[in-house]
């Protein structure tokens, strides 16, 4: 809900699934250098790593270079073994067979997001890379955030350009390592007045792309962190990513809670989950009130989780802990008078909600 997600086309879904399956099956290790524009030095950073690895004695080749390279990259390439792209009608592509025959320890691919010319085994370069990985070759590749499939619409809105070549997000997220190349270009300090408007627009475009690149990397790292914690049996979540759980009850002011949750999720680039605890003996009046609220949440695009448990507070807390919730949104208790002498579910959430903030809303 935090990200405005576009509905994927069936073809895109297929590619995502294929990329996920291939990631599970592959043997080689994938490292990605992620930049936010051309000219930020991705190629240099990546090929400098190739040079260092070679100096340390690793068997390194370059499987793809950009059509045009700056001087300092050219100087690096002279120190490296390059397997040239093969020329086919309509363009160039990685010479997959040649790289597999040569079978280096590491293959560097500068520019992951190219479409291959028609007629080749694979329509895109990232699929070529998958073949290399499947052959047990470690691949280190660079990509510009503008070609991440999931971001296509947002990138087009920012840059005003149509994007025709993309790499599935799941392929990027499946990388064993990702590194951001974040180096805002040094800007001249003074511009003429005519230049100023254009410079500001360019700066804003660049800032938006930078932000996206950093967030994509953060999401990949979050994924890695959860995997690491899971593998090592660590049950604790570190709260590096804000996750808000909105608890729906028959009298919850769902509109306000969702709006506030969305504001927090947007600010932190976090995520919102909506949940309710199934009540075995609920009046029909309460049931319809609950249904109405769930309908509002689902219309807002929220993911709704149905929980069960004898004690509603504990059911919520158990779920919240398993998902690494950092903020729990819940309505004020309706109890007054003598009923206040007993602990309400809200009291329990407040006393026992260790590890998360509990935000109580007017109903």
């Amino acid at each position: 809900m935090a990200h405005e997600l576009r509905r994927k086309t069936p073809e895109e879904c297929m590619l995502e699934v294929q990329a996920e399956e291939a990631a599970l099956a592959r043997k080689g290790h994938l490292k990605i250098f992620l930049g936010y524009a051309s000219g930020v030095g991705k190629s240099y950073r990546m090929l400098d790593e190739a040079r260092r690895r070679r100096e340390r004695g690793q068997d390194v080749v370059v499987g793809a270079i950009q059509p045009q390279v700056p001087h300092e990259v050219e100087a690096l390439l002279r120190k490296l073994e390059v397997i040239p792209l093969k020329n086919v009608a309509g363009g160039t592509a990685i010479d997959v067979d040649a790289v597999i025959r040569r079978h280096p320890a590491v293959c560097f691919v500068d520019g992951l997001a190219y479409n291959n010319p028609p007629g080749l085994r694979n329509p895109t370069r990232w699929q070529d890379v998958q073949e290399l990985l499947a052959a047990g070759i470690k691949v280190i590749a660079s990509i510009n955030v503008q070609y991440v499939a999931e971001l296509k619409d947002r990138i087009e809105a920012i840059t005003g350009k149509r994007i025709t070549e993309t790499v599935p997000t799941s392929f990027i997220k499946s990388a064993d390592e990702i590194e951001v190349v974040d180096a805002p270009p040094i800007e001249p300090t003074e511009w003429s007045l005519e230049e100023e408007a254009e410079t500001l627009r360019r700066k804003e475009r660049i800032a938006k792309l930078r932000e996206l690149a950093l967030l994509v990397a953060a999401d990949v790292v979050d994924h890695q962190l959860n995997e690491y914690l899971e593998c090592h049996g660590i049950r604790q979540h570190f709260g590096t990513y804000e996750r808000i759980l909105v608890c729906v009850t028959p009298r919850a002011n769902i509109q306000e809670m969702l709006e506030e949750a969305q504001a927090v999720a947007e600010g932190f680039h976090g995520e919102v989950i909506v949940a309710y605890v199934k009540q075995p003996e609920i009046s029909s009046e309460n049931q319809s009130a609950l249904d109405a609220r769930l309908a509002v949440a689902s219309a807002a695009g929220a993911r709704i989780e149905i929980l069960e448990g004898e004690d509603p507070a504990h059911a919520l807390l158990d779920f919240a802990r398993s998902r690494g919730i950092t903020q729990l949104f819940v309505g004020h208790s309706q109890r007054g008078g003598l009923a206040r002498l007993r602990a309400s579910p809200l009291d329990k959430l407040i006393w026992e909600g260790h590890g998360m903030d509990v935000r109580v809303f007017p109903q």
Binding site: K203, F238, M356, Q363
Partner: protein, 373 residues
């Protein structure tokens, strides 16, 4: 164009998540580029840590000698801010932004020295790690088990013109550490046990990336406010949030202040802190409590949070009343001290505020807890 006499210098921060990711190297690389472009650049403070490749990057750069400060019979070296001011370069490199100066120095924090350089019109390039950001202090402790003492208030970082993420994968960093690039062998081994555990590095890195993204977004919004192009509609106004933090002598107050401030910064809310005393000042408190409360109020002010001591005999009703009168949208509280069997009769202010202010949003902030691996 009509320029003011001294235009404030620009501040650029190279942000990382651990020692050895290459912040200083990156900063020196930029200094070399600036020098090649004819900019008058000097090194104001540089911490070599014996790293060969980094030291090589200083070649040809003018280095301002450090000053010697004596403290308890030992001599320490600090950045010589006066010498840099006298030299007045266009750009100055200052390593380790969060550093605390040795007692007896003119200013207690290096970021205060940097403030002077900026005010004098010098651009500053500097380095820091995410764990030194004040508002993340509790979280960093939770993740790493280390209570970082040298912190930088978030507003100091927000004032920077640019925050650049210096990234390196934890795997590559651990290799560097094992090869002895970052620290000498013995120190490296002890480092591997705390900050350099893989889970810690991955978590800190995620925090640094998210913070860097936030800093980019924050600057964009500031820019937009400054330059709204003619003919474009202003963005629809967001609901305005006012966050009220209840501060007490309770040591958890610091954690509460940090969290409230962080949330307000991220959702664009106003934040202020209050304490409640029958006399409306701190005079009625026994000394230890008075000192703690003063400390917490000071801490809030250092983070640029407005503070006030409210007069009232009853903490809960005074806070709720103040909140209602001042259009407060959320009240931030620490968790009630203990579970009570008769919640309706509890004397705990937090418990009572929740029961009393059903027309307001109340946030109970969690303590950070550490689970040993």
């Amino acid at each position: 164009m009509n320029m003011p006499e001294t235009q404030r210098g620009k501040l650029k921060i190279f942000m990382g998540y651990a020692a050895g990711v290459g912040k200083t190297y990156k900063m020196l690389e930029e200094a070399q580029q600036l020098k090649a472009a004819g900019v008058d650049v000097v090194v104001g403070y540089f911490e070599p840590h014996g790293r060969r490749e980094t030291i090589a990057k200083t070649e040809g750069l003018e280095i301002i000698p450090r000053q010697k400060v004596e403290y308890r019979g030992s001599v320490f070296e600090e950045m010589d801010t006066s010498a840099i001011l006298a030299r007045h370069p266009r750009t100055c490199l200052v390593d380790e932004f969060p550093h605390t100066n040795v007692p007896g120095s003119e200013r207690s924090k290096r970021w205060e020295d940097v403030e002077l350089l900026l005010a004098a019109g010098t651009d500053v390039l500097t380095t820091m790690n995410i764990q030194h950001l004040e508002s993340l202090n509790d979280q960093v402790w939770q993740i790493s088990g280390i209570r970082v003492r040298e912190t930088i208030p978030d507003w100091v970082v927000q004032q920077a013109d640019e925050v650049v993420m210096v990234d390196l994968t934890p795997r590559a960093l651990l290799h560097r550490l094992q090869r002895g690039v970052v620290y000498e062998r013995q120190k490296a081994n002890s480092a591997l046990k705390n900050f350099f555990r893989e889970s810690t590095l991955v978590a800190l890195r995620e925090m640094a990336l998210r913070q860097a993204a936030h800093e980019v977004e924050h600057r964009m919004m500031t820019d937009e406010r400054q330059f709204v192009p003619a003919g474009t509609a202003p963005a629809s106004p967001r609901k305005h949030h006012r966050i009220l933090v209840l501060v007490s002598p309770n040591p958890k107050s610091a954690m509460l202040i940090r969290r409230a401030k962080r949330v307000s910064d991220f959702i664009g809310a106003e934040c202020f802190a209050v304490a409640v005393e029958p006399s409306g000042d701190l005079s009625g408190l026994p000394q230890p409590e008075r000192e703690s409360l003063e400390q917490h109020l000071n801490f809030a002010r250092n983070l640029h949070i407005e503070t006030r001591v409210l007069e009232g005999d009853d903490v809960a009703s005074t806070v709720v009343d103040f909140g209602r009168r001042n259009q407060v949208t959320q009240i931030y509280l620490t968790r009630p001290a203990a579970r009570t069997w008769l919640p309706g009769l509890s004397r705990d202010p937090a418990q009572r505020i929740v029961g009393m202010a059903k027309d307001m949003q109340i946030v109970i902030v969690s303590d950070r807890e550490r689970v040993n691996e």
